[in-house]
């Protein structure tokens, strides 16, 4: 009995530690300035939507929202399309060649973003592309492709080879095997990969910080502008933060089983 009690106390402490920061941001976003900075903290307060009104009237923020939406969706769709074809190609090769290619793809994940952001930045400056959406879309698609390939390979590997061999005996072409057998069979995996790409792109900060211009700022970059005004506007800032992470928390819950698998590229199946 005491052991059980001890266990549940421990569980509550753990969950409190994990969830407190999230609660604290969301709670602060509904507080009036007086309550937000009160010490000792105010646990019961009269909620207000003032902060959300401020942030939703902010044109820069709304534009960043649209940018994030367009860029993460199109870059992810592009990455999954390219990734699916490449992943199919890699799964069809003999084991030795395949191992080499998988290693190469992993090494792309290890290189810090800084390595390729600098030359891209240099080119973009010369081409005058720093303020155009296609630059960020292309760069994010490029970043997401290795990830999409590695993850899709793990889903394609789950498909029994007999399906493919049977289709080949029936005279199906390579492309129609991919299009009519592999893609439908791995539909769930493809959708999960797409969602994970959107999640990473939406949350990504470093590339957005270095390669976005005034018109292409995404949400994580735009929110940092609240840090530089006189002091920090915590009210508006926490409201913005709440709006940024809410869609991702929902998407994350949708693919929760795949997240660990995705982040370990399938090396441990979650």
């Amino acid at each position: 009995m005491i052991r059980r009690l001890f266990f549940y106390v421990g569980l509550v402490v753990l969950l409190a530690a994990v969830l407190f920061p999230l609660y604290w941001v969301v709670a602060t976003s509904f507080k009036l300035p007086g309550d937000a900075f009160a010490i000792p903290p105010v646990w019961l307060f009269e909620p207000t939507l003032d902060n959300f009104r401020t942030i939703l009237a902010n044109k820069t923020f709304l534009r960043a929202f649209a940018n994030s939406f367009v860029i993460s969706l199109s870059a992810s769709a592009l990455a999954v399309a390219i990734g699916a074809i490449a992943a199919y190609g890699i799964t069809q090769q003999d084991a030795e060649k395949r191992r080499g290619q998988e290693k190469f793809i992993l090494s792309l994940r290890i290189a810090p973003a800084l390595v390729f952001v600098i030359p891209v930045y240099y080119f973009a400056v010369r081409l005058g592309a720093l303020n155009q959406h296609w630059l960020l879309i292309a760069v994010y698609a490029f970043i997401n492709v290795p990830f999409a390939i590695s993850l899709l390979i793990t889903f394609f590997d789950d498909i029994p080879r007999e399906l493919r061999d049977a289709a080949r005996v029936d005279g199906a072409r390579e492309f129609s095997i991919f299009w009519r057998i592999y893609l439908p069979a791995a539909r769930g995996g493809v959708v999960a990969t797409l969602i994970l790409c959107v999640l990473f792109t939406w949350n990504e900060f470093f590339v957005a910080l270095t390669l976005s211009g005034r018109n292409t700022q995404t949400l994580p970059v735009s929110i940092t502008s609240f840090l530089t005004f006189q002091g920090i506007q915590w009210g508006a800032l926490t409201a913005a933060a709440t709006l940024i992470m809410l869609p991702m928390l929902v998407l994350g819950m949708l693919v929760q089983g795949q997240i660990v698998r995705g982040m370990t590229l399938g090396s441990v199946k979650g």
């Binding site: 604290w24 010490i39 492309f175 940024i244």
Partner: protein
């Protein structure tokens, strides 16, 4: 085959980019004097090893990576062992553990900055309740790196927990029962049977955490911007400053390449330690 062009284009793009990056690191390109760069050979690399700011940044990267990885893995495993029983709401607990992982890193940084606020932050309030004086979490050069570390541990320990839980679920329970029948104590079962079974999963999670901590950027940018007095400037951050504040393109690329080489060496070393025998492919 229809997929070969795509694989080719990807390989060629990566190869060209790599060669171009190496080529740039052998020149002295700077946006401050565009169009007047010359070939300088290995000067940039020599410069780095005589650059105290860069070497300090490298040391901080090592410190941060070692601390973050080991704390997250040990703490995560402890929590996994603690949670290793059947209880109601286990599924919900797992779902809730995802929250820090999918929370936007910039928001995580802002949140912790809010909590560490010296005057009105939650951290100092807790300390005052415990009768301890206020700390300058992000403003003191001795403390700031560890404050960022706390935020990193908060965000990524759940990842270690979820991954190890997944591995634990797929591990067979027969060896554990056999050990218990043979009269092993509970801690012996854990230490000699359970943990060795999780070895591969632990190794993978440690590698992933190490790779990501070496490259950590978001939390540093939001919480401290490398300050105070450069006390939280890691190598990745230093490279960013060289490239986007000083606009010394070539030197910044050199820093980034040194970071890449260093990462690979560290990974190979870790790989050797974690998979001592004929290692399995991760």
């Amino acid at each position: 085959m229809f997929y070969q062009p795509i694989v080719m284009v990807l390989s060629i793009t990566s190869l060209v980019l790599t060669l171009y990056v190496v080529w740039l690191s052998l020149r002295d390109l700077s946006l401050m004097r565009a169009g007047r760069d010359t070939f300088v050979g290995l000067d940039n690399y020599i410069r780095f090893f005589a650059d105290p700011r860069g070497l300090w940044a490298l040391w901080r990267t090592v410190l941060f990576t070692v601390l973050a990885t080991s704390i997250e893995v040990v703490l995560g495993l402890a929590i996994v062992l603690f949670l290793d029983r059947n209880f109601a709401l286990k599924r919900i607990v797992r779902t809730l553990l995802l929250v820090p992982i999918i929370m936007t890193p910039v928001v995580v940084g802002l949140t912790w900055r809010f909590i560490f606020d010296p005057a009105s932050g939650m951290a100092n309030y807790l300390l005052s309740r415990l009768g301890i004086g206020a700390m300058d979490w992000l403003g003191s050069p001795q403390v700031a790196l560890f404050s960022v570390l706390i935020a990193d541990v908060w965000q990524w320990t759940p990842f270690v927990i979820l991954l190890s839980m997944a591995a634990l679920d797929s591990a067979p329970s027969d060896p554990l029962d056999a050990a218990r029948v043979d009269g092993a104590r509970e801690w012996q079962v854990t230490w000699y049977v359970l943990l060795p079974m999780l070895r591969r999963a632990i190794a993978i999670v440690a590698l992933i955490r190490a790779i990501d901590s070496i490259k950590a950027f978001d939390l540093f940018y939001i919480m401290t911007r490398g300050g105070p007095a450069l006390s939280t400037e890691t190598l990745n951050f230093y490279g960013y400053v060289v490239a986007f504040t000083n606009f010394e393109i070539s030197y910044a690329i050199t820093v980034a390449l040194i970071l890449t080489i260093f990462t690979n060496v560290a990974l190979l070393a870790m790989y050797g330690v974690l998979f001592p025998r004929k290692g399995e492919r991760t």
